[in-house]
Amino acid sequence: MSPTSATLTPSSRPRPRPRTATRSSSPRRSRDLWLGVLGVLIVLAGAELLSRTGIVNPDFLPPVTEMYAALFAMLGEGWFWEALWLTVRGWAVGLAAAMALGVVVGYIIGSSTFLRRFTSSTVEFLRPIPSVALIPLVILIFGTQPQSAFVLVVYAAFWQVLVQVLYGVADVDPVARDTARSYRFGPIRIARSVVYPTALPYIMTAFRLGAAVALILEITAELVIGVDGLGRELGIAQSSGAVPETYALVIVIGFIGVAVNLLVRLLERKALWWHPSVRSEQS
């Protein structure tokens, strides 16, 4: 098994540390916070200066203040909220479908040694096929309809989820499974009380990886194919020379990405509070 997932990486292993604690004391933390704010200010001020002084052509990089002015102007317009909604919806629906499909298929394949061996070569072959290879196909079939984005998002996120779920189901302690069988647990009870708790950390990893990939493909579909959403608006803004608006949209999409990451982390904390990797992060 290769170290594919984040849960398998060494840093998430719980580690007893007899060292004296020097981290996470409050003055240190507030110092870090101020440094972080400082870092953001440096980047913003730096970009503003590069543009104002003309070191970088302001036609390509407008001052940050102009980007934010464009951003606030956008907030008052209906098309912006419409596009934002479509992007988020496309992402969420695609991700949900990929999760559902990946978990079900992964559970079925993972529970049977025969199926696992029978499908492994196919999974290994299909997984690395880049989902962008499907772009011309979906254009032919769906054109600029949301289904185009849906297919790309599901295809890309599905493999991430499937592989993680397979790892998770394979990680179930065989003794626990045998014990459950010897007590004549039904398949549903085994799934719920034996497989699910073991596989949950993997499912959360699947969610984290899938969420990021789904957003990438949703934006790609909008930008490249022209499916309605922020990505399409971004393409339009750029080709019509509305440079501050272009940057404003990039910033908005970036913040969606940040929001997705925060959401994932929140869910992970909630679902896995008992898991060592989460606990050690807090300690």
């Binding site: 004296t20 020097t22 409050s26 003055p27």
Partner: protein
């Protein structure tokens, strides 16, 4: 206090013989952890003792006595609050030249991406030892710990006891003035432990290296050491510096059944019990 003072009085005589050649000198060492935003923790109040060249000294103390803090301070991995550690006449400010450390966590102190031989040779490379000599030294050190055959394996392919032997070989090949060992055998099984103890004794005897051996195991301390430094509980001071007057030739069977071994062991044990109960020599003097 009769027994204690009697014994400590006697052991105090031994180091008074003109300190011929001091390898490691701890002068009023103090360590207080002062992390901003946290209550200060006084780990070591005052430690003052010295180790002569070629001696094997064990340090024991109740758990939480700051043994590891002491060792990390000596190794130059921690800054002292006051006092100084002098190695070979030079005060220690960072990890000093001429000191090698064997950590308790053998699995984590060996570089898993290197073979056993590469692990042993790396510090020599840093020292600038020429290639042929480096190879010979590593070869010899591995032979000392009888791991010649395992030289091209990776540490994680070996058992726990073998891994710790690799760490010892690495330290020995470095030819340090002082070898520091931080509870090196706490994580291996009892039989392996006995073997490793004998290995340390024999290496010490025929390489003439100075060893400071930190342990929580009283038997181990008495069996290995020429002296046993007993620490109080936190904040740490010296409980007593016990000299071990057992014959130089030791083995697991006869030494451990020697009545003198039993006495010393009992004495150190009672010191530790007192230390655990909060008995402190510095407060006794005040009282």
């Amino acid at each position: 206090m009769t027994f204690t003072t009697l014994l400590s009085g006697r052991s105090a005589k031994a180091p008074e013989a003109p300190a011929t050649d001091v390898a490691l000198d701890l002068r009023n060492v103090q360590k207080t952890y002062d992390t901003p935003g946290r209550p200060e923790v006084e780990a070591i109040r005052n430690l003052d003792f010295r180790i002569n060249r070629g001696e094997l000294v064990c340090v024991v103390g109740p758990s939480g006595a700051g043994k590891t803090t002491l060792l990390r301070s000596i190794a130059g991995l921690l800054d002292l609050t006051a006092g100084e550690v002098v190695l070979d006449g030079t005060p220690v400010t960072g990890p000093p030249d001429g000191m090698a450390v064997v950590f308790q966590e053998y699995g984590r102190s060996l570089f898993p991406w290197m073979t056993v031989r590469q692990n042993v040779e790396l510090p020599l490379k840093e020292k600038g030892v020429p290639k042929a000599e480096r190879k010979a030294k590593a070869e010899r050190a591995l032979a000392e710990v009888s791991l010649t055959e395992a030289a091209d394996q990776h540490p994680w392919q070996l058992s726990g006891g073998m891994q710790q032997r690799v760490a010892i070989a690495r330290a020995v090949a470095y030819e340090p003035t002082v070898l520091l060992m931080d509870e090196p055998f706490a994580a291996v099984d009892a039989q392996t432990r006995a073997e490793l103890e004998d290995l340390v004794r024999s290496l010490w005897k025929h390489l003439g290296v100075t060893v400071l051996f930190v342990t929580h195991d009283i038997d181990e301390a008495v069996y290995l050491g020429e002296r046993v430094v007993v620490l109080s509980n936190r904040p740490t001071v010296l409980m007593e510096d016990v000299s071990v007057d057992l014959p130089a030739e030791r083995d697991q069977l006869t030494t451990r059944s020697d009545p003198r071994f039993g006495e010393l062991r009992g004495h150190v044990y009672s010191l530790i019990q007192k230390a655990k109960a909060g008995h402190r020599p510095d407060e006794d003097q005040e009282a």
